[in-house]
Symmetry: C2
DNA sequence: TCCATTCTCTGACTTTAGTCAGATATCTCT
DNA sequence: AGAGATATCTGACTAAAGTCAGAGAATGGA
């Protein structure tokens, strides 16, 4: 990472956040404190419960409560008990609140137009493309890869999606009971680890490592959500697991995969895995790979 | 401008400003109120006068004064009379303030690194390029084209640069006394207008229109700063003058140019100007153009 | 010289944002 | 039914940010 790149990023931070920040100030205030405006915006068209708002906006519960009282007094929101759990409160916009929300929506559009309007068509296209690229990569930079229990809610969700995808993609379909199993306890300490990758807090991929015979580990359950592909998330998970394997004293990793999973094979090859003779009898596998750490 | 583009811009505004804003919060605070931190940052290595700080940061004079008192009490800045104008105060950093400033610099670098570090080299390159593009175009979108007296300080500066450039670029050099003149009063109401384009407040180009014989106007002194080329500034100035000409009831515009100014000729052609027979005896001209409005 | 203007400063405010320690109601688990 | 956890609310704070009216010094131009 050279210093020219760092300077460019700093420059971008200054110029772009300042300009857009200033525009947001002037467009989105509508004579209301920012906290209240954000709250209306987040409660949005469908409403939300107070707990969700608190965690999304990162506010103190006392503070949030007061903001809600204020919006209630202005006749913009209704707060009533959540059916099901009587501790939770549900926030919804009154018709007047909906109107406010619509006004914010309109102003956000205007703000975006005020950026695009002075440009020529070709410049607009380039700006929009470049913004999409920056946004995409900023999100990628914030990918959070974390060790997690294979039984956790998000891990379960990933595995379900993974199996579902295999069923779709394998020519012969996929029946977990016919495949070599990887039980939860094999993917959790001390026998192994399970990692989940998250994009903006939403699970976007998973992967597991079984420590195996203490010299050779096995990679299992490598999966990336289709909505999050092409961002290097699988590579990042693989590299994370390799680092964990090295720390655990393993000297090699191996894995098997199905011939329909072309992108996975390309990843393994580019990360230095070599195809080897079958080392197990997994019925759904067509390729076996290994790498020395 | 389609709504998909507007949505992309809005999305960018949300995701990117939020993420970078949050990072700046966590990196740049150093246990100090944001206002004070910004002030140290702006006063910077070379110091600044209070008026410049006030307009740059957009602060109330009373508020700014209080911030300065606070930083002074912390031993971070010195405030003394400006030599020349005794009403102005000059702010400069003490050695302790310089150290604070350096710390902010270091943290800004760290912040930038924290964005780049999780990415692969190729992704980093793409992010930096896309950021440069966004920054460039956001600046372009904020180009400010304004009618101005040809005698104003910035107009003078533009014209000096313009003549200097002609001297460099014309094969025969350029001597203003041998060229057909355009006097200041011909480029100001009621005889004409002079416009200056600014990028972030700095003059980046100029252009003049002489109303001429009330049906046909003349474009003169079209110039863009070399540091600001390739951003459509000249085109924007030209379009601005055409709009003014139309409003003034003119039905045609014409201009002459030198053969070495290839990019200007390309601009005129692409904006619908056709080459015509010489309509004056400007000794430095090789091409004459005209356009019906 | 004098008068309007410019620039900075001070005092007296308000609003916004945020924290913290309980109080109260409700839920979950045993 | 009771213990402990969870979710929200209230009261009592503080800090930061910002506004407004005017005072006082310096300047620029008539």
């Amino acid at each position: 990472m050279d210093s020219r790149q760092i300077q460019q990023v700093r420059h971008f931070n200054r110029v772009v956040t300042q300009r857009i920040g200033a525009l947001e100030e002037s467009y989105l205030r509508r004579g209301r404190p920012l906290g209240e405006a954000r709250l209306i915006f987040e409660a949005g068209a469908h409403g939300a419960d107070v707990r969700a708002l608190r965690s999304k906006l990162g506010l103190d519960s006392g503070y949030l409560s007061r903001l809600l009282r204020s919006l209630e007094a202005q006749g913009l929101i209704l707060v009533d008990k959540q059916i099901g759990d009587g501790r939770l409160r549900r926030v919804s916009l009154t018709p007047k609140g909906q109107a406010e929300f619509a006004a914010y929506e309109g102003l956000s559009d205007e703000l975006a137009q005020s950026i695009l309007a002075p440009l020529e068509a070709a410049q607009r296209d380039r700006l929009v493309d470049a913004m999409a690229e920056v946004e995409r990569l900023i999100r990628v930079a914030a990918v959070d890869v974390r060790i997690e229990a294979p039984g956790s809610e998000d891990a379960r969700w990933c595995l379900d999606e993974y199996f579902h995808e295999l069923t779709e993609r394998f020519e012969s379909g996929f029946d977990p009971t016919k495949s070599n199993p990887a039980r939860d306890d094999e993917m959790a300490p001390p026998a192994g680890v399970f990692i989940v990758a998250r994009l903006d807090g939403c699970p976007a991929g998973c992967c597991a490592l079984k420590f195996g015979d203490k010299t050779t580990g096995e990679i299992k359950r490598m999966w990336t959500a289709s909505s999050a592909r092409g961002r290097g998330i699988a590579r990042k998970m693989l590299q994370t697991l390799e680092a964990i394997a090295r720390d655990a004293g393993l000297t090699a990793l191996r894995l098997e995969t199905n011939r329909t999973l072309k992108e996975a094979q390309a990843l393994y090859r580019s990360e230095g895995y070599r195809e080897v003779a079958p080392f197990n009898d997994e019925p759904y596998a067509h390729h076996w790979f290994a790498k020395d750490l």
